[in-house]
Symmetry: C2
Subunit: 420 residues, 2 copies
């Protein structure tokens, strides 16, 4: 088969899956909360019951990856263990425990002409997910989609293909036992890379695509998509140590934001130090960073020389850029120029500075005297999250169940017509 006909075939496979998902989504939209929660618990039970099958499949993926010479950090993302499967299953039970967003009345009124109007949360319909190695995303996305009444098309990494096939098989069987259409969750082929393209261009068949992964994946999806997308998870996050900062607090937040988990999107990538306290603060913070194994890039003597590339870099490693800024204005300017609109933080004891910073910095989350690591669905009290949106439309910041919904205006009348 030539590549062209492969692509043509893959397109038909993706479109057919989307059409089936649409049909399933009509049923999902009408399920009660009790039905959805029962299905989530059934899926959790099924995962535990089929753990061996899932782990066997995962071993196949691990063997392929190892023989391809994949590095250990990626292998670890790919790896499932009995305890990880337990964790994934209990994640489904947690989602079952969250409030059901569907049917919530957001606004409503009775118009002067007697029409009763109300805006109600409804599912989006068909949600596409494009993601990288971690197989837990397969189940997490299924759980959040089901609870919010959406059918989901999963396009995972080919490196996790065996694991994902096994997981989705278990989930679909569990749905069938509950009388819910199995097509509520479908795995798209990952062997042919073009399935991503067909998914993100299935306008009219798919309501939204959410990419989860590195900046490269996200940019490619957002650029080539004709289906609406939600940009997630690129975080070039800054900590600004203001002239009125408590230096010990700044150190504690800096070390937590940088070193807690360097590979996550809410990790600190640049620290800005106010010129007024630079003489004491800079050596203090550099010493603390180096003590924690962090390499500091900057334009000061003794640091790894930094250039513009460093200001725009999301290291995701134990590296950080450090810059002395003249004042709060310069800090805000730097952040609004180089930041990715994820999470930005200030440490200060001065109320006016805190207000200025929170109102002028343009980001999904702005922290005063708190670690950037708190931008997270679970930390915010939403339960599981589907990703952290860094775009301004639809959802910004941690996306949980309500962010997987749309709305519908329902209007009840008694024969009202509109005057000409």
């Amino acid at each position: 088969m030539t590549s062209g006909t492969t692509t043509e075939h893959t397109r038909e496979v993706v479109h057919e899956a989307a059409r089936k998902a649409r049909i399933a989504s009509r049923v999902l939209a009408g399920l009660t909360t009790a039905q959805k929660d029962a299905a989530l618990h059934a899926a959790a039970d099924a995962l535990l019951g089929s753990a061996d099958k899932v782990l066997d499949a995962n071993v196949e993926d691990l063997l392929v990856a190892k023989s391809a010479g994949i590095e250990e950090s990626l292998l670890d993302r790919l790896r499932l263990t009995k305890s990880r499967v337990d964790g994934i299953a209990s994640g489904l039970r947690q989602v079952a425990g969250l409030p059901d967003p569907i049917g919530t009345v957001i606004r409503g009124s009775t118009l002067p002409n007697g029409l009763a109007i109300r805006q109600v949360r409804v599912p989006l319909g068909v949600v596409g997910m494009v993601y990288e190695a971690r197989p837990n995303v397969t189940v997490d996305a299924f759980g959040l989609a089901l609870k919010s009444g959406n059918a989901v098309l999963l396009r995972g990494s080919s490196s996790a293909a065996h694991s994902n096939v096994a997981l989705v098989e278990v989930l679909r069987e569990a749905l069938a036992t509950q009388g819910i259409p199995e097509d509520a969750v479908q795995l798209l082929p990952s062997a042919d890379r073009s399935s991503v393209t067909h998914l993100i261009q299935a306008r009219g068949l798919v309501d939204v695509v959410i990419p989860r992964g590195g900046a490269g994946l996200i940019n490619a999806v957002v650029r080539d998509a004709t289906v609406p997308t939600i940009e997630t998870g690129t975080g070039n996050c800054h900590l600004y140590v203001h002239s009125a900062a408590d230096l010990d607090m700044a150190e504690k937040i800096l070390i937590n934001g940088k070193t807690r988990r360097p590979s996550v999107c809410n990790a600190i990538e640049t620290v800005l130090v106010d010129d007024a306290i630079a003489t004491t603060a800079v050596p203090h913070l550099i010493e603390a960073l180096e003590r924690h194994g962090v390499t500091v890039h900057g334009d000061l003597p003794g640091l790894v020389p930094a250039n513009q590339k460093d200001w725009g870099e999301e290291y995701l490693t134990l590296d950080i850029a450090l810059k002395v800024v003249e004042d709060l204005d310069a800090a805000v300017e730097h952040i609004n120029t180089w930041g990715t609109g994820h999470t930005e933080a200030i440490v200060t004891g001065e109320l006016a500075a805190a207000h200025e910073f929170t109102s002028r910095v343009d980001a999904a989350a702005v922290m005063v005297n708190a670690s950037t690591a708190f931008t997270d669905g679970e930390q915010f009290g939403f339960g599981a999250e589907i990703g952290i949106s860094t775009q301004k439309l639809h959802a910004r910041g941690p996306m949980a169940l309500p962010e997987l919904t749309s709305t519908k205006w329902i209007v009840w009348g008694e024969g009202q017509i509109r005057p000409v």
Copy 2:
């Protein structure tokens, strides 16, 4: 100059305007409600004071259009009169009277660790509008953008170029008198069609583009855009006359929805009649439609023969498609297949049918015993609207001030860090 360098030049003009808009947007985001309202009244005053200048420019557009043989209905959309300018100015004053969405706290809580989190409405930033002949959209979009703290880039029709230049000049001068950056409103060149492309592909410079106009314009913008867009105003709206319908009520709603203003997006384009009452209802409704000058397309004898094209057609004229459907299931199926997700209506006296219809029909607005003509920002009590969204992401249905905003999480702490 070759076409390539023209496009290159136009791109630079559009990008430069977007960069200036971004700078202006930072100032707009910090304005108080009183400052914005004062500017809206100043702009209204300026429009009235410069009405002659605006009308003179409009005459130039009209002369060009007439000599190009433009039809009268388009000329009428393009035409400004003293009374229309009055109406546009009072539209600005109405927007000044609307509540300011910026700063509204949508959600918030104090987390167990003491962090105070709140989600606050903030402006989107830079909004692009692409629209057709009507010059009033220039001022309406400016007013809604300003009140919601956004800078706006206007890409109007080349046929309204003189009018738009005059209007934007007046608006910018009014802003200057109020100490607000003039770049809050900028008109993009319309002579070179590529300015639309450059606007909708100015990713990172423009936060959202809203196309307003016919289906062709909207589809082209949505398809080619890399900037997030909001699909508006394509309405293939249905009225389903259920077996338990009051036939006089059905007639009244049908005639209102079809004939009140056939060219608007919430007009009825197809009437579905339940088979159980077809024998009496169909002749009754056809008679009423024909009495009001409506041409009925359908697969019944005596009608203009209809085919699949008619089910998908947004006539926007005194034409309608009529189809007999077996039952409510068939009606919902037809609507979810052929509708554009704008407004769908049922006439019925049966509660269960009304519930089924409102929950299963997938549209921005679903009406029970009311005219489709009510889907409108002003009718819903929102004041002016920027368009009616038919997409599911971000906004669905009439878009007013809150729909022109994004959100930001603001988190206040006292040094909290996240446990590893």
